[in-house]
Amino acid sequence: MAEPHNERNASSSVDSDLGNTTWDSGKQNAGSSSSGFDCNICLELAQDPVVTLCGHLFCWPCLYRWLRGHSTCHECPVCKALVEEDKLVPLYGRGNANSSDPRKKPPPTAYSDIPHRPPGQRPPPASPSSGQNHFNQHHAQSSGFNFMGPQGTGAPMAAARFGNFTFSAGFGLFPSLFGFQVHGFPDGNGFGPGYPFGFPMGFHGAARSYAPPAAVSDQQEAKLSRLLMFLGFIVFLYILFL
């Protein structure tokens, strides 16, 4: 298991003899090239990076310690803006050991006192047709498990549009991740035009508590789901054999 902290520990055991000027120059170069992404507290390349609304980058453990233990009024260490933990944006890079399947992700070890970094706020998938969309926040932000989180960014997303029918699919770890948008649906059943289905059906239950107030009955929902599944499947075949 590739622990992100191991590398750090290794590099931190730099000879602390201050008179010694033979600092590891390789590390220095690496440091200067990444300096735009260094944590503003530990000055190292940010790990479990989070960014505040004021745009300042930190390691989550570093910022957590400051906010919970030492700051007087939850101010940003760089610019003193108010920092609210639930408004932090986690950054999920590519190819990082951290971005493996979040279900298997161990707690951020070495910092057993630090909880998980806050999950990202995932807006609904963009609607290509409507300029302003009025979707409710409807993503599966279930307990500590961020569905489109780290590994979602690693899966290539494909989107195709046929007439007034938009279809998008994510391939990768979750082959069942389909996104559908059907336009021109009757409004009467509570689905506005362009209502997004950004979830795999298997996870739909988890998201139900976040459904908009105008949610339809389960029966209707299931029927619609099956219909959309079927439509999606046809389009999928269409793409596949075209």
Binding site: S12, S13, V14, D15, S16, D17, L18, G19, T21, W23, Q28, G31, N40, I41, C42, L43, E44, H56, C62, R65, W66, G69, H70, T72, E75, P77, V78, K80
Partner: protein
């Protein structure tokens, strides 16, 4: 290796100080020299008064002591030997500067502290001790750290 790192510093603090020292060596703040020593937890920094200020051609020494959980907590920064005559610097070397106490932030560094101190010196218009110097210094006689003082900060621009 790890045995040479000072006992009083956490691993995080030692890492960060290594990093700061490295950056200082590559890009030292103008007017300052870090005096090389084996002690990562106490830095002695030579300060040279900026040209065209009251402290031109004068040399002072700052002693910077880092707490175990630096940078979450501010270092203790005092002038040693003969502290400069300045309305915010007491004769025992203590400095009345908000960033060293209430306004500390872990994004600050020794380098940024030094720059603030030099700018405080440079903007001074008179060489004088703080008005409450004698009373304050008497209160600190038993070796009290300036970090234990409840400071209130003057809002003037000196």
């Amino acid at each position: 290796m790890s045995s040479s790192s000072p006992k009083g510093l956490s691993r995080i603090a030692a890492n960060r100080l290594h990093k700061e020292l490295k950056e200082w060596q590559m890009n030292p703040p103008a007017g300052f020299k870090h005096k090389v020593s084996d002690n990562l937890q106490r830095w002695i920094v030579e300060v040279n008064g900026a040209p065209n200020t009251l402290y031109e051609n004068e040399t002072y020494y700052l002693q910077v002591d880092f707490p175990e959980n630096y940078p979450m907590e501010a270092p203790q920064v005092i002038f040693t030997h003969n502290p400069p005559l300045h309305p915010h610097i007491y004769s025992n070397g203590h400095i009345c500067l908000d960033i060293l106490y209430d306004s500390w932030s872990p994004a600050m560094t020794v380098s940024s502290i030094c720059i603030s101190i030099l700018s405080m010196l440079s903007s001074s218009t008179e060489k004088a001790r703080p008005v409450d110097n004698d009373r304050y210094v008497r209160n600190c006689r038993n070796g009290k750290s300036p970090k234990e003082t409840r400071w209130w900060f003057h809002d003037d621009k000196v």
